[in-house]
Amino acid sequence: MLKEKITAVNGLNVHTIQTDKYKTNTLVFKMKAPLTKETVTQRALLPYVLQSGTKTYPTATALRSYLDELYGATLNVDLTKKGEQHIITIRVDIANEKFLKDSSPLLNKAVQLLSDIILQPALENGEFVAKIVEQEKRALKQRIQSVYDDKMRYANLRLVEEMCKGEPYALHVDGELEDVDAITTKSLYNYYQKALQEDEMDLYIIGDIDEIEVLDLVKSHFQFENRAAAHRKSPITKKTITNVNEVIEKQDVKQGKLNIGYRTNITYEDDQYYALQVFNGIFGGFSHSKLFINVREKASLAYYAASRLESHKGLLMVMSGIEPSNYDKAVNIIKEQMEAMKKGAFTDEEMVQTKAVIRNQLLETLDTPRGLVEVLYHNVVSERKRPVDEWIAAIEKVTCEEIMEVANQIELDTIYFLTGMEEGK
């Protein structure tokens, strides 16, 4: 199993993982803060501005040319919500020169570059560059709007909006459209300075590396001012469900998108988390699960019918694409599967199968640098640390009773259906 070493360097937690299985070396930087209406849009914009120019390479074109020169090093950024925390991720992946004819060292250049992107952005008059900010504000608006055109994503987003109304989790990961225009080069720069001081920061370095050398590199390149090693946690908003919310929305679509949200009342921190994982696997996580078998294989109603967990918020989401006229049929079948879970109507075989697949999925995820970081980062987001070895052993130990207990804690919250104009439900 891979060994993760964690070292605090200048208020930054550096995670190093030494392995010779890849042809590249990977750097993943993450900064995390609570999800709030006031900051969500600025945070959604910030990494895109940072990746558009540094002091040394002040335009996106100059920066991208430099990346090409470094044998096509890749640089990408994204945003995620984990529970009620908003996470900015910046990744740099660079070839390991030992597989190239030209063997000038590349990793130190990648560390330097990543640190420049984070700490030495392109500036004018002590603020971000107006042209870059304007371009990225436009791109951000396009990104926010594009969800409407992807009906699967749209239906999922609408379910969360309806289900978590008034909770921070309802905020959009890419920010709020109406707050984009108000951002200025100055306000964003001020926010950036504040985030550098207050966000919790983690840097993962994976590859065929010398851990001592690479830590020295990080020490010299990542110098923060006035930075406290932050660790802040925002409590998760809980909700009492009084009645099930049913939302039907009509649009010009051929296929209806049925998205159902449940509250599991269990998060990554809880002892029941492993039982919840097994629950989800039997219920809808895989192609042997109840949803796939009953909605798709038996009733022939859908091409996809699955469920997934939001581990840090405690949500379970079911999604399926169906003929609009089959709404009642599909909802009933899905409800029946949940009832079956609550009653313990699943076999030992289903349990064994699900555990084997979960174990396999976890081990496969660890084979990619990106997957590995995502697995490890759960331990940063949550107070509860769950090493990979523990994961595998604990999944094995989950019992039928524990799964039923989990099932009986799960509450139906919202049924959302995006359907065609003519046929109703």
Binding site: G72, A95, D149, F286, S287, N360, L363, D367
Partner: protein, 431 residues
């Protein structure tokens, strides 16, 4: 068993042809948890007219049948193969492309058992009238899902605008109407013709012992009997060099318009290193013109004509090759004109040698990165092998590319008569 060693990349590949004609490749990957295996037939959506095995006349089969067959192969008399794989801790899948159908699994335990399941389920078809009918509802919803997906409609619209006759223009899943015509007899006919071992390739990549795995495959194949390998006769479509139509507009329920320019290649080499070179040259050319570090990209981005959805891609198979360039845009007509202009005026400027070297470096690094992925290795190796090309020649061919090579491909492809554009635009729905 033959051993191929790629020193610079530090990869070893083992190969053997089975007596029944099946090609088997094994690439041991130390340090990985996962083993990934693909079992692929050289049979895809474009193979819709052929002489069925044992017959003499050309036959036209319903659109979408290769993909339908892929779905149905998972169902057996005693249940679903997905169940079998998950009991063995594996995740299984399959996909159908224009020219291939691939079945695959990945697993971190029980590799030999899973490999046996993979080979056996693909080599034992079981189709009944009842299961064929049931699948029509499922695939019908798969088709509907794509109908509502504007990016897919845009992509296929572009291909349909480029190709007049060639079946690449037909959606891989077919239509609700065309799949209604599929019967179990037709499925067996397609299966017998295209799933002969001599038309297939098995690739295993992961932390495996190559000797053991190869022996297992030899034993497995020796237990089964197949008809002697026969040459497959596919209908040869005649396709004009120029595009079928210059422009197509699809109104849909979207907020942001989309625009894709298609470029139809004229001279596509059938097989061998020339084919690899042609494909890589086109890829380098597109990167040179439209990559994020190119001046064109910068200008289009700062003008607000493109956003992060902008992309370009080149697809080359045995009989056809086409590039697509575009993405979301507020002004689809202006973007169309700009993209065409960039390509048509390319010949007027001389190629910057330094920029070309940079693009080549980027491509070499990207190839190295893709070797981190067992999925990439298995799928791309198979695709190239079907064209009698080796995946591992990519770096040397990239290194050899010259300005003349790039210019030659640009001359071949960048002509108004080879461009077609497809746009998805917001439709006035009144909601």
């Amino acid at each position: 068993m033959e051993k191929l060693f790629y020193e610079q990349l530090q990869e070893e590949l083992y190969y053997e042809k089975m007596p029944n004609g099946l090609d088997v490749y094994i690439l041991p990957k130390k340090g990985f948890n996962k083993t990934y295996a693909t079992f692929t037939t050289k049979y895809g959506s474009i193979d819709n007219q052929f002489v069925p095995l044992g017959q003499t006349e050309m036959k036209r089969v319903p659109d979408g049948i290769a993909h339908f067959l892929e779905h149905k192969l998972f169902e057996k008399e005693d249940g679903d193969v997905f169940q079998q794989f998950s009991k063995q801790g594996a995740s299984a899948n399959a996909f159908t492309s224009f020219t291939r159908t691939a079945y695959l699994f990945s697993s971190t335990t029980n590799v030999e058992k899973n490999l046996e399941t993979l080979i056996d389920f693909v080599q034992s078809p079981y189709f009944t009238d009842k299961t064929v009918e049931k699948e029509k509802g499922i695939i019908g919803q798969e088709i509907r899902m794509y109908d509502d997906n504007p990016d897919w409609r845009l992509y296929f619209g572009t291909i349909q605008s480029m190709y007049k006759n060639h079946p690449v223009r037909i959606d891989i899943a077919g239509t609700v109407e065309s799949i209604a015509e599929i019967t179990k007899e037709l499925l067996y006919e397609c299966y017998e013709t295209f799933y002969h071992p001599s038309n297939m390739l098995l690739f295993v990549v992961g932390p495996v012992d190559q000797e053991k795995i190869m022996q297992q495959i030899r034993d497995n194949q020796a237990r089964k009997s197949f008809k002697p390998a026969a040459e497959i006769k596919r209908f040869v479509y005649s396709e004009p060099k120029e595009v079928a139509q210059a422009k197509q507009v699809i109104p849909m329920n979207v907020q942001t318009p989309k625009c894709l320019v298609g470029i139809k290649a004229k001279n596509v080499a059938q097989i061998g290193k020339d084919k690899l070179k042609h494909e890589l040259t086109m890829n380098v050319l597109l990167d040179y013109l439209f990559g994020k570090s190119s001046p064109h990209y910068e200008r289009l981005y700062s003008d607000g004509l493109i956003d992060e959805t902008f992309s370009y891609d080149y697809t080359e198979e045995t009989e056809f090759g086409f590039a697509v360039v575009g993405g979301d845009t507020a002004e689809p007509d202006r973007l169309t004109d700009e993209l065409k202009k960039i390509m048509l005026t390319f010949r007027e400027h001389s190629l910057d040698e330094q920029d070309l070297e940079r693009v080549k470096k980027k491509k070499i690094g990207a190839f190295l990165r893709s070797l981190n992925s067992p999925e990439y290795i298995a799928n791309q190796f198979t695709r190239y092998a079907f064209h009698q090309v080796s995946l591992f020649d990519i770096v040397s061919v990239l290194e050899s590319l010259t300005c003349q090579d790039i210019e030659q491909v640009a001359n071949e492809c960048f002509n108004e008569s080879q461009f077609s554009v497809c746009q998805v635009v917001p439709k006035n729905t009144g909601n």
